[in-house]
């Protein structure tokens, strides 16, 4: 089955997606949809985007064959898509650049964003600085405490980081607060959402901007190995880096797709952030998708060592890929992610973000089940500099 034509005009991926927002936002979202529909067909817009991706972000990002690690594991060859080498250190910039150009095109003067790990906040602050736009980033108090370097980077770039103290004080609450701000200043403000969630057109638009990852990777790997990979592995919080990698491979039935959620202390512990593995469908943040919720439909607190995966929902296209079984969703624990973090660092000299370490952890499990002639492509979605404090604190405890 080929999924590449989704979503439909209403933003539906099967029964998922849609536009569940307060009435005040319906017209601004319609305007955004219209502006994006025009922009994606405008050669001048696409050329400007391509130029920025090449000269500002540093694309294409390389693919690296992790030979030593592959040899140690004795199974499939591991290839890393090096999104960590992008300007600002993660894949988030791909979409922030695209949305920033769109904001400028729509005549907006103010940009807002939500952030968890701070990578999307930094990417947005970067784009805002370059385009000369006012920028406010909403970030939960818990995340501000554990991702200090990124808070400082955002402030250095001229953004205001607004601490969110409502609810669980993490990514979902930052998203709530950004939506509240948007509704209040809707005339001049463009909301740059960091992931493939939110009301239509965000899941589609962010996917389109992130799809450059898989488009490049498909060509690069064909050039390097002469064949398509046997499996793709990417971590899934909201799921933007995973969709970005998967999208160009959806029609390649021989390529298995693995999305890796955060199992936190373990799926049985209840302390995790794995809605696809252990949640059920519901409506939050503008779309219908899998959520972590209690039997009364209240969203429950999530836990992950990684701030970027600490989110109770997931992009609606992932919900669709799960139900249709085109992709497989698994979950790895904090401990497994941390072990993979150290292993990649010490074996290949690459320090991955704790988010990306979840993808690495699953690849470490998968590789020995395959043969050395087979290949796994892992999205190394970000670098781990921002996680030094978290990792150091855990090392001290241990």
């Amino acid at each position: 089955m080929i999924h590449v034509d989704l979503p439909d005009e209403f933003g539906h991926f099967g029964r998922y997606g849609g536009t569940f927002v307060a009435e005040t936002l319906m017209e601004p979202i319609a305007q955004l949809r219209e502006a994006y529909t025009q922009a994606r067909q405008d050669p001048a817009f696409l050329a400007a985007l391509d130029a920025d991706l090449q000269h500002y972000v540093g694309r294409p990002s390389p693919i690296y064959h992790a030979e030593r690690l592959s040899r140690e594991l004795g199974g499939a060859q591991l290839y890393l898509k090096r999104e960590d080498l992008n300007h600002t250190g993660a894949h988030k910039i791909n979409s922030a650049i695209g949305q920033g150009l769109l904001a400028k095109r729509m005549g907006k003067t103010r940009i807002i964003a939500e952030t968890g790990a701070g990578q999307h906040g930094v990417a947005t602050a970067t784009v805002a600085a370059r385009l000369g736009l006012e920028c406010v980033v909403f970030m939960g108090e818990v995340d501000i405490a554990r991702q200090q370097p990124n808070v400082q980077r955002m402030q250095l770039l001229g953004a205001e980081v607004r601490a969110v103290s409502s609810g669980s004080k993490t990514l979902k609450d930052a998203l709530n607060e950004a939506l509240r701000d948007w509704v209040t200043q809707v005339d001049n403000t463009f909301y740059i959402i960091g992931t493939v969630a939110g009301p239509h057109p965000y899941p589609m638009m962010v996917r389109d901007f992130q799809a450059v990852i898989g488009r490049e990777a498909r060509q690069q790997l064909l050039m390097m190995t002469g064949q398509l990979p046997d499996a793709l592995v990417a971590c899934v919080g909201g799921g933007s880096n995973a969709i970005g990698l998967f999208h160009s491979f959806l029609a390649d039935d021989g390529v298995a797709l693995y999305g890796v959620e955060a199992a936190g202390n373990g799926l049985d512990s209840g302390l995790h952030a794995a809605p696809l593995s252990a949640g059920k469908p519901g409506v939050l943040h503008g779309n219908r998708t899998y959520l972590m919720e209690d039997p009364d439909g209240q969203i429950i607190a999530t836990h992950s060592i990684s701030a970027g995966l600490d989110y109770p929902g997931v992009g609606p296209e992932h919900a669709w890929l799960k139900d249709t079984r085109r992709a497989t969703y698994v979950a790895v624990t904090d401990d497994a992610a941390l072990a993979a973090f150290y292993r990649l660092t010490r074996t290949e000299g690459i320090i991955p973000a704790l988010e990306s370490s979840h993808a690495m952890a699953y690849a470490l499990q998968l590789a020995p089940q395959l043969t050395p002639e087979q290949a796994i492509l892992i999205n190394l979605s970000g670098r781990g500099d921002k996680d030094m404090a978290t990792v150091a604190a855990l090392a001290e405890v241990a």
Binding site: F10, A22, M26, S166, G297
Partner: protein, 276 residues
């Protein structure tokens, strides 16, 4: 005809504007809600808007967010909210009750089960803030089948085309959000609200209520002069929150405030500018 339609017809005959207080079910304590609703009616409420607590109230300002948190901390569920309405109905069979909230608790219960339960409890209308009519027609259909009025918001940003679309499926009344913002925010501009109400009335004969930003007797009076109903939420919930530690005081404090608003909207000639 439902209670909401009957209520507006009766008020219209008396040339009165409906007063609609909003309170969050279970705030500050579940046991307070039913007596509170009776007190609100006693002091002048024509229709009650009862908030269903939700963990992520994206369209609400801090006042109603905190009310939701207080209720959820005591485990108030949608099932309990329906039980509160049923308890209220034992002695009040005339005042319409509209549930206001977010879609996910209804999704979790299932639309059909919710609509049947709400109907049985005596709910008259349902307003889901994150569910405009084009987002979720299956809920609208389900409510109508169970003789519950689906209530929809219209905002300052709503185009004429959307007003037509919304009023086609709305029942009972439509709710105009008087400002761009969350509940409890900003300042009202009476002239621009009046202009929008004229635009809405060109599309529908349904009564039009105004809410978001009605903070005191003066703003209630100004809106009552142009609208069929005024909704007061955050200003009332603020007063409830102030006596969260003395729950037995909640009904009297809320009732006193509501009485002020009632007097102001029923006496449009009385100037309130000096007292505010």
């Amino acid at each position: 005809m439902g209670r909401i339609t009957d209520c507006f017809a009766a008020l219209r005959a008396e040339h009165k504007t409906a007063l609609i207080p909003f309170v969050t079910a279970g705030d500050p304590q579940p046991a307070v809600t039913v007596p509170l609703l009776h007190t609100l009616v006693e002091w002048g409420a024509d229709i009650i808007e009862l908030g269903v607590p939700f963990s992520d109230p994206m369209a609400d300002g801090p006042v109603i967010q905190l009310a939701s948190e207080r209720a959820l901390a005591q485990g108030v569920s949608l099932t309990q909210v329906l039980a509160m309405v049923a308890a209220f109905r034992r002695t009040n069979t005339t005042t319409p009750v509209v549930l206001m909230g977010y879609l996910n608790p209804l999704e979790a219960m299932g639309y059909t089960e919710f609509a049947a339960g709400a109907r049985q409890a005596g709910v008259d209308g349902v307003l889901m803030v994150d569910s405009p009519p084009d987002a979720c027609s299956d809920l609208t259909d389900c409510l109508v089948q169970h003789d519950i009025d689906p209530i929809f918001l219209i905002a300052p940003t709503t185009t004429s085309q959307r007003i037509a679309q919304i009023t086609r499926v709305a029942h009972g009344f439509v709710y105009y959000v008087a400002l761009k913002g969350v509940t409890g925010a900003g300042h009202l501009d009476t002239a621009s609200v009046a202009a929008k109400l004229t635009q809405i009335r060109a599309h529908t004969a349904l009564p039009v209520g105004v809410g978001f930003g009605i903070r005191d007797a003066a703003t209630a009076q100004a809106m009552a002069a142009i609208a069929d109903a005024v909704v007061v939420g955050s200003a009332l919930v603020t007063r409830i929150a102030a006596c969260a530690d003395q729950p037995d005081q909640v009904p009297v404090v809320a009732g006193t405030f509501l009485a002020e608003l009632r007097a102001a909207i029923d006496n449009p000639s009385r100037s309130l500018q000096d007292t505010c």
